[in-house]
């Protein structure tokens, strides 16, 4: 399995994501700069959190114009697995790879804290390592994580089981407590919490490992993953 971690000008969780997938999970992985136009040869693309281009206009609004995004769309259209975390989620919604939008937290403040989440669907490529309805704790760190989608979109998300993670105590005003959603096809996930910050006990917990393990199994074509 070979993973690409995208890096936009100003990205600051790209190295963390690379560390998680390569050094902690032991998979082959490479950083791919935003001006690259080719993602062939990769089995998985990770879009990192933090900020991109300063996010001065709206989070993710400028990153979507980066050359690599054309390649990313093609990669996703071909069924490749893509995960966007935090700013990555914002970029994927701005780019139209995921439904909805992320607006300012209801408090208008940046929030960094460990947040309990409920695994709302453990049948996706991103969540098979978790039990159904398992509560996990992942850190959040964002100012614009308040998920919005129009009522029809929201209803469709729920009906299709596209909601993968929900906040147990909604910290930011997200509709339906949504913390992470997939596209209709189920190969693209966006989530505001940071699984890559929860892969080492030394740093406070390992609940994020499941996201990476699920993906690794999915890309390797394993049929089922033992529930932990």
């Amino acid at each position: 399995m070979k993973a690409a971690v995208l890096s936009f000008p100003g990205s600051n969780c790209d190295a963390d994501l690379l560390w998680a997938i390569r050094d902690i999970c032991g998979e082959e992985a490479e950083m791919v700069a935003a001006n690259h136009t080719d993602l062939s040869g990769f089995d998985l693309v990770l879009v990192p959190g933090g900020f991109s281009y300063g996010d001065y206009l709206r989070s993710g609004a400028i990153a979507k114009f980066a050359p690599v995004m054309t390649a990313l769309k093609a990669f996703a259209d071909a069924g490749g697995y893509v995960i966007g975390i935090c700013n990555g989620f914002q970029i994927l919604t701005e780019a139209g790879l995921l439904p909805g939008a992320l607006q300012w937290n209801q408090s208008l403040q940046f929030i960094c804290e460990p947040e309990p989440l409920v695994v709302a669907n453990n049948q996706t490529a991103f969540s098979t390592a978790y039990r159904a309805d398992q509560t996990i704790t992942l850190p959040i760190a964002h100012g614009e994580g308040n998920y919005y989608a129009d009522p029809a979109t929201l209803a469709a998300l729920e009906a299709n089981g596209q909601v993968v993670f929900r906040y147990a105590h909604n910290p930011n005003g997200s509709l339906n407590d949504i913390a992470g959603v997939t596209n209709a096809r189920g190969n693209v996930l966006g989530m505001m919490p940071h699984p890559e910050r929860a892969v080492e006990a030394l740093l406070g917990g390992t609940d994020g490992l499941g996201v990476f393990q699920s993906l690794i199994h999915a890309t390797k074509g394993a049929t089922t993953v033992a529930a932990n």
């Binding site: 000008p9 100003g10 963390d16 300063g54 929030i111 960094c112 080492e200 740093l203």
Partner: protein, 735 residues
């Protein structure tokens, strides 16, 4: 629109420099150094370079007394930041800086650019910034203006640190009326590097190029805060603003690019310096000074954000996110190409010259030609008169508090903004980006692992103006001791300190006394704790209507944890563990938080500090932690023993049952040099053997309830109820 440039003769007669902070005597001295009358640009440069901020003209004699070197110090004060060896080929780099005045005027941008500035100091040495800390002091949180200040300062710090991707892992927020109109905003940054790659701000080698990189130069912050405030009071100039706006995106690119230069292009690089106070002039002339070089800059080549900028404005602008590099002749293109890859402006704007002149060209004319030393080593240094303030000559009688209901007093202190939980504020900072933060804010020190080693760094900032107000010397020593305590209880051996010296007007003998005496105390303590001062910053004139803030040295300290398994936090971990106190408790209430809360101020003779005894206790704590005997550790600080025990119980809701041989009032005494440790039952014998009489067993951790029996009262309350009070103490006031 702009000031028409006066001729040298008109300057001599009209004395515009008085508005820029120079005195007539300083003007005369400068003219003498030049051997002629300075022109408009030249006198402007002197006003920047001879300011306290650049020349330390009042504080230099004090700073000279600091202890700055031990066998681990690789680089002491004098460069962008200090450097200490941490083993395994790595070094830690750190420095703190104050942004009090800019933050008072424009809190968001003032705080944000304070963080941006201190980060540049760190990467200018070649170190990757790994953590930021912030030390803040405000007036009463019930004041509407203060509420807004706090909100905006916190937003600004987070706005910059979060976006650039450096975790904010610690800090402090203190409250006293003396900061009401003059808040303190001090920021510290810590970086890590290979010790072989330390970089200095040099410009040596005739013909080598000076390369300007980063943001364009605009008319922001020209000539520092005095210029800014003059403008704000001038309604006619209302559509001009001197506020500096931070651009963390630009700085992220600048940081990554500069680190790539120091990492991979060492052969091409001669030196690098950030542009801070007095912008272009201070960065370049200091680089020349440190290498004993001459230098010429062509100002037409400087990237400019606005048309028609004068040499004065270009040289003294404090636009953010700019760096100056000195690069070997022939390597310019290679370096410029690297910056272009990051989409950054990089231009050759001058060269190192033979001789010792500092020359500036503008539109083909020489607009400045002065000796480098006139702007640097020949700047004046003043030996100020010092006089003990009257309040210290005749201290009030010892404060004897009445504590009829110790539980009520505990609740009062837990709700005091100084003790109250600040999580709702520091949760606005990203504490975990870079995924190395082992201990996030909320314990005694932030702890960050050093990748590629088995080590971690613990870091803290501490200040206590209340104590210094009663005794600057002892208070200075206590501030250092308090910082070392916070590191030691986290399992770290203190390495060294940086400081921000926040005081009033140094030309007042009483203020200078406070500064000089506290430096003495700091020095005495640093020698005992083996924590040299490797960097720092001075902020003077912190006064409103002639009344100074409490003398407030902020101590930023970094410690080394050699084994990741010995990282320790303050929360009680499990029920049934032994609770021990190290250090005796006396009746020390002068300067205490209790005195502040009960009387609205502090008075009396400050409690003493026995440095040698303190060191022995700290060594014991560290030894016990390193022997894996300790499950939680916390120092006793603001509010005393009972507050400290309550704080330890909040993390996991685990309380304790304890008995102390003290009257209840003394549970709020602030006797120095005390620690609380918990020891799992299996290790108690070993711990007691190690500690001997130094540790007193006071009780055992228990589920859910805090119960402390003193000789005259028993204090008992559910942990959850106390925690609630502590959580709401400040957050409710700021709503």
């Amino acid at each position: 629109m702009l000031q028409t440039e006066m001729s040298p003769e008109t300057i001599r007669v009209k004395k515009p420099y008085l508005d820029w902070g120079l005195t007539e005597a300083e003007y005369d001295r400068y003219a003498e150094l030049l051997g002629r009358l300075p022109n408009y640009t030249e006198i402007g440069l002197a006003s920047g370079m001879w300011s306290e901020h650049c020349a330390y003209k009042f504080s230099k004699p004090v700073l000279k007394g600091f202890w700055t070197k031990n066998d681990r110090v690789l680089m002491g004060p004098g460069e962008g930041a200090g450097v200490i060896d941490i083993g395994e080929g790595k070094a830690v780099v750190f420095k703190a800086e104050s942004h009090n005045h800019p933050s008072a005027v424009e809190p968001y941008e003032g705080a944000a650019t304070g963080v941006g500035g201190i980060i540049r100091d760190i990467f200018s040495i070649g170190a990757k910034p790994i953590a930021v800390l912030d030390s803040l002091a405000f007036g009463s949180p019930t004041d509407p203006r203060t509420k807004q200040l706090i909100d905006q300062v916190v937003a600004g710090i987070g706005g910059y640190g979060n976006a650039i991707g450096i975790p904010t892992v610690g800090g402090e927020i203190r409250f006293a009326d003396s900061y009401a109109k003059n808040p303190l905003v001090n920021a510290m940054c810590v970086g890590v590097m290979d010790k072989a790659k330390i970089q200095k701000g040099k410009a040596a080698g005739v013909g080598n190029a000076l390369i300007y990189v980063g943001a364009k130069t605009g008319r922001d912050g020209i000539n520092g805060a005095s210029f800014a405030s003059a403008e704000f009071s001038d309604e006619a100039a209302a559509d001009r603003s001197a506020v500096q706006v931070g651009d963390p995106f630009m700085e992220k690119l600048l940081m990554d690019a500069c680190l790539e230069v120091t990492d991979r292009h060492q052969a091409a690089l001669v030196g690098m310096q950030d542009m801070g106070a007095a912008g272009l002039v201070s960065s370049t002339v200091e680089m020349a000074d440190k290498s004993d070089s001459g230098m010429v800059l062509d100002l037409d080549l400087i990237p400019q954000r606005e048309p028609h900028m004068t040499p004065f404005e270009i040289m003294l602008s404090e636009s953010q996110e700019r760096m100056m590099l000195c690069v070997r002749a022939g390597s310019e293109d290679q370096i410029i190409a690297l910056f272009k890859e990051y989409d950054l402006d990089a231009v050759v704007c001058g060269h190192v010259e033979a001789g010792h002149r500092y020359r500036l060209l503008h539109h083909g004319e020489v607009v400045c030609d002065v000796p480098v030393s006139a702007l640097t080593s020949d700047a004046p240094v003043y030996h100020q008169a010092s006089q003990q303030p009257a309040r210290l000559a005749h201290p009030a009688a010892d404060f004897v508090p009445a504590v009829p209901d110790a539980l009520a007093t505990l609740k009062q202190l837990l709700a005091d903004p100084n003790v109250a939980d600040k999580a709702f504020l520091y949760q606005r900072y990203d504490a975990q980006v870079q995924t190395n933060t082992c201990v996030t804010p909320g314990s005694d020190a932030g702890v960050v692992r050093v990748r590629g080693t088995h080590r971690a760094l613990a870091m803290t900032t501490d200040s206590n103006g209340r104590y210094l107000y009663l005794d600057p010397e002892v208070g200075g020593a206590i501030t250092v001791a308090e910082a070392t305590r916070n590191l030691v209880v986290s399992g770290a051996e203190p390495l060294g300190i940086t400081d921000c010296l926040n005081y009033g007007d140094p030309t007042k003998p009483e203020i200078f006394y406070e500064l000089a005496e506290s430096a003495k105390g700091i020095t005495a303590a640093t020698k005992v704790f083996n924590t040299p001062v490797i960097s720092g910053n001075v902020s003077l004139y912190n006064e409103t209507n002639g009344v100074a803030i409490y003398p407030t040295p902020m101590i930023g300290m970094v410690g080394l944890i050699e084994d990741l398994t010995t990282i320790t936090t303050q929360d009680f971990k499990q029920v049934g563990e032994g609770v021990y106190v190290i250090g005796a408790t006396g009746a020390d209430f002068n300067g205490s938080l209790l005195q502040q809360v009960l009387t609205g101020g502090v008075a009396g003779t400050l409690m003493p500090l026995d440095l040698a005894a303190e060191k022995a206790k700290q060594d014991l704590v560290l030894q016990a932690i390193r022997a894996h005997l300790v499950s939680a550790a916390h120092d006793v600080a603001d509010g005393g023993l009972l507050v400290a025990l309550a704080e330890m119980s909040f993390g996991r809701g685990i309380g304790l049952k304890a008995t102390v041989d003290l009257p209840a009032a003394q549970l709020f005494s602030e006797t120095q040099g005390r620690f609380i440790l918990t020891v799992p039952a299996a290790h108690q014998a070993a711990f007691e053997a190690m500690a001997g009489a130094a540790a007193t067993h006071i009780g055992t951790t228990e589920a859910g309830t805090l119960k402390v029996t003193a000789t005259d009262q028993t204090i008992e309350a559910p942990v959850a109820a106390l925690k609630q009070i502590n959580m709401e103490g400040l957050s409710c006031q700021l709503k």
